[in-house]
């Protein structure tokens, strides 16, 4: 299958950007849990989380998708298609994320490629984002694959 040449800012490929530092907001965790119907006390009750040995309320694993969405990544100036959809997502949980944690967020553009199928050519853009806490522990890594067509 022939790869279609695509226009984007290739200087961003593989370059790690420290996009920002964020504080994990307890109210945001609680709002996320309420929206998804999450009732596990480790994610919804500060006292229960502390009783279980954690220093504060924990964020559910996919809360990281919310953190990723809030990050300000560089524009890759992709000149392809009009509509963007999520093709895939992978999270690797390396440690707990607590309410109040301060996390350094680093992102890099992993790859950009095209695929052609029955519905035409699609362009896939894959970003990797990792979150590191103040103790220097990488707590979560997220890989997002978006498709444009």
């Amino acid at each position: 299958m022939a790869m279609q040449e695509i226009e984007f800012d290739r200087s961003l490929l593989g370059v790690e950007h420290q996009v920002e530092t964020i504080t994990v907001d307890k109210e945001k965790i609680l709002a996320f849990c309420q929206a998804i119907g999450e009732t596990n006390p480790l994610y919804t009750d500060d006292a229960a989380a502390k009783a279980a040995g954690y220093r504060a309320l924990l964020a559910p694993p996919t809360f990281s998708t919310l953190l990723v969405r809030g990050t300000d990544r560089p524009d890759i100036k992709l000149n392809f298609g009009r509509t963007s959809f999520r093709a895939g997502e992978a999270i690797e949980v390396l440690g707990p994320i607590h309410a109040g944690d301060v996390l350094d967020v680093r992102s890099s553009l992993k790859t950009v490629y095209t695929k052609t199928g029955r519905s035409g050519t699609m362009c896939f853009v894959v970003w990797e984002t990792s979150f590191t806490n103040r103790e220097g522990e990488r707590v979560i890594a997220v890989q997002e694959s978006m498709v444009r067509r």
Binding site: I36, E38, T65, A87
Partner: protein, 138 residues
Amino acid sequence: MAPYFDEVEMGDDLPTAEKTITDQAVVDFCQVWQGPGASRFTDDEQAKAEGLSAPITPGVMCMTLMAQFLEEWGGACSIKRLDVVFRRNVLHTSVRLVGVVTDTGTQSDGLVECDVSIQSLEGDLLVGGGATLALPYK
């Protein structure tokens, strides 16, 4: 109660679950995830303008349903990895969550590999993926 690692074997099915994704559930999710405002997830016109037959469920909401399904079996904080591929659009509808144990690690790590998917009630694959869970052992 999460199963013990020692009790789990390759080929074990996770208890299948059915979930109805309502319009309101998607609106609530989007409110937190992307803020207020119409989108292809919540608005019929917007969805049709983007070539969709009806509003769809955000991919990350589907992934969240899968994570909850896995943690209902393995317990809170059991997920170490979750990797999903969005095969088809998921409308606001009833879906089935299915999982199976595909491998088990060693007693020392307590890790279990699973395939996990969201299927239509007719059995069509909508979202597929794999996960690694850490289970307690006796």
